[in-house]
Symmetry: C2
Subunit: 236 residues, 2 copies
DNA sequence: CAGATTATGTCAGCCCCTGACATTCGGCAA
DNA sequence: TTGCCGAATGTCAGGGGCTGACATAATCTG
């Protein structure tokens, strides 16, 4: 571990299909740290959990913790990071005929669904990620760190969109603008989700995302006074 | 100063038009802190400037610094916060007939222009804010803090939009969605601006913002392959 | 098995930030 | 003016995040 471990992005299975003991142990402690941190955060809150606690819960020195994660934020966001990677993969696999906006929408829905079906509960599952999401919104520093991660993810989305449609993202602003809109739409949906009383699970999140997408057009067009305008009314 | 000073939002001139010595001194040290911090940040960078340096540059204890600002980030973002307040004011003053999206666009353009004309240079001027913006994008923790501020500002925008159009922001997602889209559009423009070599001043920023707005429709609609589609091509 | 890599532990230390308490300063009325 | 009250500041102690440096122990390679 010369520099910081940059999060194991599913090591390519080429070259050596036996990862070796060293590599396995690293992955192991990393997972253990995420697990322990996750548990502590959820039980006592993010701010009231110290890095020392996390480290000693895994029988590891504090210094070692910081060799795996750049800071306390990172270990909290680690679970979400995996989900985001999967979303990008989904986006890459969308058929080229699909309109860009639709490809984004389909990818995000599919990734939530797939992750939800993969392992509905237990550690590292979707529900863990959802609990995390709620916790993040309760902690200002985590909100900040999360937003930063999200915007970096958006850069990736810009790349993928540009490749997909064969345009140059430097000259053509459309990929950038669309990625930005998409990102903010997702965040709105997340906020709505965390604002709900009942957790509602992955399907609830999907429903919220869809609703937000459906309101994109109406929000951009015309005035809103007229209640019978766009079917945007879903009063209780 | 019982709790933290919550940033003097232009004290209402009612009740006593002479703010009193105490109040004046407070404002004074606050400004001095922002000034000193600003200078130090720009000359040595954000991370390499300690709070002690800032405090002693104003002949004030470190503890006092933290009674004015919740953290080091806040003093760096203080200048921008003023600009954002002015934007909100502009938005409130837009005529009700204007379409929501247009009101947002007009407000942001007007606020940049007005602030640019107010005091083109010197401390606390627009150019200071622009320098700050560039610095922020160079510093990951500042990016995070800035994004958090921006999203809180968005909540305000949601409120104003909802009032304007007479809708309930809880039931009707349109204000939320539009505010989110607007926020991400602005951030894209800021990023483009900081990516440029030549600073280009407030007018350059306005131009970029307008360009981003103009690409909103084309980005959301249809495919992009066809180069003659929406006039979205401005190749060099 | 020996040497090269690499992960980990230990330690010292800087810096951010906070609570508690004492002190000083501005505002205000007798 | 004087004296009091509340508010702003200073000082001190301390916790917690994070890093560099160095030694040690574990893995890998031949």
């Amino acid at each position: 571990m010369a520099a910081r471990t940059p999060r194991p992005v599913r090591p390519p299975e080429d070259l050596c299909r036996a990862p070796g003991l060293r590599e396995r142990k690293k992955q192991q402690t990393r997972d253990a740290l995420v697990q322990a941190a996750h548990g502590l955060f959820l039980s006592q809150g993010f701010a009231r959990t110290t890095v020392d606690e996390i480290a000693s819960a895994v029988d590891v020195s504090q210094r070692t913790f910081f060799r795996y994660f750049a800071n306390k934020d990172e270990v909290a966001l680690a679970v979400l990071a995996d989900a985001e990677d999967y979303f990008i993969e989904c986006l890459r696999n969308r058929p080229a005929e699909e309109l860009p906006l639709q490809a984004l929408r389909a990818s995000i829905v599919k990734s939530w669904r797939d992750l939800g079906n993969a392992q509905p509960s237990g550690p590292g599952s979707i529900n863990s990620a959802l609990e995390l999401l709620r916790m993040i919104e309760d902690s200002p520093p985590l909100i900040a760190a999360h937003l930063r991660r999200v915007t970096e993810q958006e850069r990736l989305v810009v790349q993928v969109l540009a490749e997909r449609e064969g345009v140059d993202p430097v000259q053509d602003l459309r990929p950038t603008v669309l990625a930005a809109v998409f990102g903010s739409l997702l965040r709105s949906a997340h906020l709505s989700w965390t604002a709900e009383q009942e957790p509602a699970g992955p399907e609830g999140m999907v429903a919220l995302i869809e609703r937000h997408f459906d309101h994109l057009g109406p929000a951009l067009a015309g005035h809103w006074h007229d209640p019978a305008q766009d079917g945007a009314q879903d009063q209780a």
